[in-house]
């Protein structure tokens, strides 16, 4: 019985951790490519879920099309924001980027919550598998958790192929490693910045769509991005697979803490872990950061 409970708790922990990891991935992607600290990933995540919801229930598109439309909308939004506003924060202090992205996130959240239909109630994306369970013997697993894990694995594989195999992926990596050298090799760094923001916003939107069946679609769903910072730091801030792994680790530890520690400890665990990691392994984690400076 306890082994079954453990497997179930671990599955939900990994699923939630995958979402932390995806948000952390988008954060690290943007940070590496543009040196901009983005505090709006949570708001992009929420906007992606609401865009899909609006296309599905407002405009009556079929769900898969609406989901694709939501992600596309966020990709375009990310690119547009980079072209108009975020480009100006390039090369300025972290504080400027931090406040700028926080302000943009506030605008995004404000814009969505000023629509009366969005702010009044919780919404649910009508996916077929919501509430379904998968039964293997005595083991009962929630379908939405398995879908999240499966989708994250697929997305991770696709991103790996993209970064290793395609010209655009290689150019983005070159740009993140050394922008000046990449520029000399004929990579358009400005275009790569736009591309990084588009990809980062799109990834956040995907995370939002995956989160939608687990929780509801609501205005505060972006708060989950606060857990993405510990995930990104645990993963080393400079590594994309690290960010994903950090997120999964965080989700597992959090779910185990919920099982074993008293009520409320679960919510503090990611931040205690962050503090501990920063204090105990500052060199290991900070090495990449120092080299970049």
């Amino acid at each position: 019985m306890s082994a079954l409970v453990l497997v179930q708790v671990l599955t939900s922990g990994i699923a939630v951790g995958c979402i932390y990891g995806l948000v952390a991935l988008s954060f690290v992607l943007i940070y590496k490519a543009t040196e901009t600290v983005s505090f709006m990933q949570g708001d992009l995540l929420m906007a992606g879920a609401f865009a899909a919801l609006a296309l599905n229930q407002g405009a009556g598109w079929p769900l898969p099309l609406a989901m694709a439309g939501g992600v596309t909308a966020l990709v375009l939004l990310g690119a547009a924001l980079e072209r108009t506003v975020l480009r100006r924060a390039l090369g300025q202090s972290h504080l400027t980027a931090l406040l700028l992205t926080f302000g943009l996130g506030l605008m995004l959240r404000g814009a969505i919550s000023s629509v009366p239909a969005a702010s009044h109630s919780m919404h649910r994306l009508p996916v077929g598998f919501a509430g379904e369970t998968l039964q293997i013997g005595a083991l009962v697993l929630a379908a939405e958790h398995l879908v999240v894990i499966g989708a994250t694995v697929l997305l991770g594989a696709a991103l790996t192929l993209f970064f290793r195999g395609t010209r655009a992926g290689l150019a983005l990596r070159a740009c993140s490693e050394n922008a000046a050298a990449a520029e000399l090799m004929g990579v358009s760094v400005a275009r790569m910045h736009t591309f990084a923001w588009a990809l980062g916003a799109g990834l956040a939107a995907v995370a939002g769509l995956l989160l939608a069946p687990v929780t509801f679609v609501h205005l505060n769903m972006g708060l989950i991005a606060l857990k993405a910072f510990p995930a990104a730091v645990l993963g080393g801030m400079a590594s994309l697979p690290g960010a994903l792994a950090g997120g999964v680790f965080l989700g597992v530890v959090e779910s185990l803490a919920g099982l074993m520690l008293p009520e409320g400890a679960k919510d503090v665990v990611p931040y205690v872990l962050l503090m501990a990691a920063l204090l105990v392994f500052p060199d290991g984690l900070a090495a990449g950061w120092r080299r970049r400076r």
Partner: protein, 335 residues
């Protein structure tokens, strides 16, 4: 010697006169438009925010660190004040304890600075603030959790400070004390070590500045001012709950320091004015819209975000700084 210093001195006096007359103009307009009572109660908030803002300016503008958790330090001060005053401790004594709690909190939050720099340290202050907020929610026996605590009126020397003019006066006095303390610190050896750390940590360390100690001192000082501001804020609002001191307040204070101009202490006052006045102005504006078109709360944060973004793009150095040279040609023309 006095002849040598006089042109600078004259310029400083002229600048101070300009600041004073601008301040007087703002005050006169506020009293005229809002009525004296309302303007005074808002002035109390502006002064209280300015105290916390001074602490932020010491951390951000003087020592060059980013604190994402200043709201939690205000929360510590506010809760200590509320819990002690409810138990019958005289308010000035409670305030001293609140300042001590803020100092201790700031010191504690700065401990990771011994080993971390830059963005990592900023993340650790965020983690600290989220832990404090969660602890305030969970310690229900003491804090009543998310339901919050009622705070009695501030009583100073047997005199209840409940009218708006007395609140404004008390806040202004506290601000004056905080200002003197901040000025003295910034002008001292400690302040010079802060500036050295801000400009270049390695060079500062090479010159014999204890970098970690300078950061600790900046956070302890910023924490003390936050504790004081939190204690006053608790009395003005009359109610404390953990959500008041969350991430939004921390960001408001960062914006305050940034908008006002973090290099100069005067930035705290201008930033506080903007941060307090802006939401009010926006809510007046949104009331003008026909009812039912949009949710007012959403519009308010939309406009607040828009103003913040615009200010950062147009005035990267803050309101007190002259326009700095940016990369974009249309930002470099003179105002």
């Amino acid at each position: 010697m006095s002849g040598q210093a006089s042109p600078q001195h004259a310029a400083a006096v002229a600048r101070r006169l300009r600041t004073l007359s601008a301040g007087a103009l703002v005050a006169a307009v506020a009293v005229f438009v809002l009525g004296a009572d309302y303007a005074l109660s808002q002035a109390a908030f502006v002064a209280t925010y300015a105290i916390a803002g001074l602490g932020m300016i010491v951390i951000v503008g003087q020592c060059g660190q980013i604190s994402l958790g200043q709201g939690a330090l205000l929360g510590l001060g506010a809760y200590v004040e509320a819990l002690l005053v409810v138990r019958g401790v005289p308010a000035p004594l409670a305030m001293a304890v609140a300042v001590a709690a803020g100092t201790a909190g700031g010191w504690l939050a700065s401990l990771p600075a011994r080993r971390l720099g830059g963005l990592y340290f900023a993340m650790s202050t965020l983690a600290f603030a989220l832990i404090v907020e969660e602890a305030l929610v969970r310690a229900e026996a003491l804090t009543h959790g998310a339901a919050g605590l009622a705070v009695p009126t501030l009583v100073l020397a047997g005199f209840p400070v409940d009218a708006s003019w007395s609140q404004a006066l008390a806040a202004a006095l506290a601000l004056a004390l905080a200002w003197i303390a901040a000025r003295r610190c910034v002008a001292s050896r400690l302040g010079r070590s802060w500036h050295a750390v801000r400009e270049d940590e390695a060079a500062a360390a090479a010159c014999g500045v204890d970098v970690a100690r300078a950061k600790r001192a900046a956070f302890a000082f910023g924490g003390a001012l936050s504790g004081l501001a939190g204690a006053l804020y608790a009395h003005w609002i009359g109610f404390v709950s953990p959500e008041q001191f969350g991430l939004m307040l921390s960001f408001e204070l960062l914006m305050l320091a940034f908008i006002g101009g973090a290099r100069e202490l005067a930035g705290a006052l201008w930033g506080a004015l903007v941060v307090v006045a802006l939401p009010q102005a926006i809510s007046v504006l949104t009331e003008l819209l026909p009812a039912g078109t949009a949710t007012p709360a959403g519009l308010e944060s939309l406009l607040f975000g828009a103003v913040v973004v615009a200010l950062i793009l147009l005035r990267p150095g803050g309101l007190t700084a002259s326009r700095t040279r940016g990369e974009d040609p249309d930002l470099t023309d003179t105002a």
